[in-house]
């Protein structure tokens, strides 16, 4: 018989101990005895929304003793019907991963280090810098003398989760500042 080692083993199944119990017609024990119970059994189900793209799939978060134990797609939500993509499916790790950011991080101009900052400090910095840039860069009139009130040096990007009304409010705010470069993150 012309066959290599792999094929021989596959045909005969006699690699290590010769005959297995299965080949002799002895039934195997149910595997139940060897597997742990279901890890989400009895856990509280909390419906949440995937934070990534604008599809906003619903996810069931399984919580036990205040701790997230598992996540999976919500089959009752008509948009994703329980399915998730690779990013949505990774919600458990995204939550528990040690690289997850939980506080604002600040890197000063020219610095190589990130520092942890409070939200109060961060909001104040954003407001101060937005005002400063707008005060210096706002273009009131173009070359032809037409009033434009345009701020070219700032860009605004919004979350993919903003609904129509939230987008309208955000839009009015950025137009009020004179910002023309506006986008959202609905793709990924």
């Amino acid at each position: 018989m012309d066959c290599n080692r792999r094929e021989f083993l596959q045909v005969t199944g006699t690699g290590v101990l010769g005959l297995s119990l299965l080949q002799l017609g002895v039934d195997v024990k149910p595997v139940q005895a060897y597997t742990a119970t279901l890890k989400i059994e009895g856990a509280k189900e909390v419906v949440t929304v995937c934070p990534f793209c604008s599809v906003s799939c619903h996810i069931i978060a399984h919580v036990r003793d205040g701790k997230l134990v598992s996540t999976e797609g919500d089959p009752e939500y008509p948009i994703n019907e329980g399915a998730l993509c690779a990013k949505g499916a990774s919600m458990l790790t995204m939550t528990s991963n040690k690289h997850r950011l939980k506080k604002p991080m600040y890197r000063a101009p020219g610095s190589t280090k990130w520092e942890e900052k409070t939200w109060e400090w961060t909001f104040e910095q954003i407001a101060t810098r937005v005002k400063k840039v707008r005060d210096t860069d706002l273009i009131l009139q173009d070359d032809k003398g037409q009033t434009v009130n345009r701020l070219d040096s700032m860009f605004f990007i919004g979350t993919s989760h903003a609904d129509n009304e939230e987008c309208a409010a955000a839009h009015q705010m950025v137009r009020g500042l004179g910002i023309v470069h506006v986008d959202h993150q609905a793709r990924t």
Partner: protein, 246 residues
């Protein structure tokens, strides 16, 4: 009646939701990765990935074709790995008669590296992997804990395109055949990979070799394993059956 997967690669977009859902459910740690010029990541199955979506590209009459293959244990109806290693350590490698699931437990850590090599070589699909640190041999478990509680396997639950399906074997085979008839209208080379011998039926739109070396069983000896065994062990099996108490 065994359970079965039907994996319709004609519907797979290689989003890898199944691969990640598997990793998340089994809480498997990350792998060190690097850019290898392919979206396939990790490059192969390993103790941290029971499932990997394989990307294969080739030229077909001047056009680039990109084929996706969500690779996993086939849960063979007559698993060679169990024949080879099933009796090494009690409760380490189990073939569950009710679901057809082939499940390895933590007890596989008691199996030697040499025996593992035999087990891996016996697999027609090159699936089992051994963790060199713990010695545990692992692969897809058919989400045994989930299916025992009436839940779908994590990969099937996550799939957004309907490529991954799970159910009773005859239902999955019927679904596979009806999809095959449809897909053949546009892809004449479409075929079902080893549908009669495994519980994971793949619908492929091109030759199996173009997907992956082990897309179908690597066994070209011209003799069917089942036939061979039937001849070899028929007398023993008969006597064993007559002794069986159940």
């Amino acid at each position: 009646m065994p359970k079965a997967f039907f994996i319709d690669t004609s519907r797979c977009t290689a989003c890898r939701g199944c691969q990640i859902a598997c990793k998340e459910w089994n809480e498997l740690p990350p792998n060190q990765t690097r850019q290898r010029g392919s979206h396939q990541n990790p490059p192969d199955l390993n103790p941290n990935n029971y499932k990997v979506v394989r990307f294969s590209e080739h030229l077909d009459a001047g056009t680039v074709k990109w084929l996706f293959f969500p690779d996993q244990c086939r849960h063979c109806q007559d698993p060679p790995c169990i024949s080879v290693g099933g009796s090494l350590v009690d409760g380490a490698m189990i073939h569950d008669a009710q679901t057809g699931a082939v499940v390895y437990t933590d007890k596989t850590s008691q199996i030697s590296e040499k025996d593992f090599e035999e087990i891996r070589e016996s697999c027609p699909y090159n699936i089992p992997r051994r963790n060199p640190k713990t010695g545990v041999i692992s692969k897809c478990t058919m989400c045994f804990d989930r299916i025992s509680h009436g839940l779908l396997p994590a990969c099937v639950k996550a799939c957004p395109t309907g490529a991954m399906n799970f159910g009773e074997y005859p239902d999955m085979l019927a679904l596979a055949n009806s999809r095959l008839a449809d897909v053949k209208k546009t892809c004449p080379k479409a075929n079902l990979a080893d549908a009669d011998t495994v519980n994971v039926i793949y619908l492929l739109i091109d030759e199996p070799k173009k997907y992956h070396d082990f897309a179908v069983a690597q066994n070209d000896t011209g003799i069917d394993r089942k036939t061979f065994l039937a001849h070899l062990f028929a007398p023993v099996r008969r006597s064993a059956e007559s002794l069986s108490l159940d």
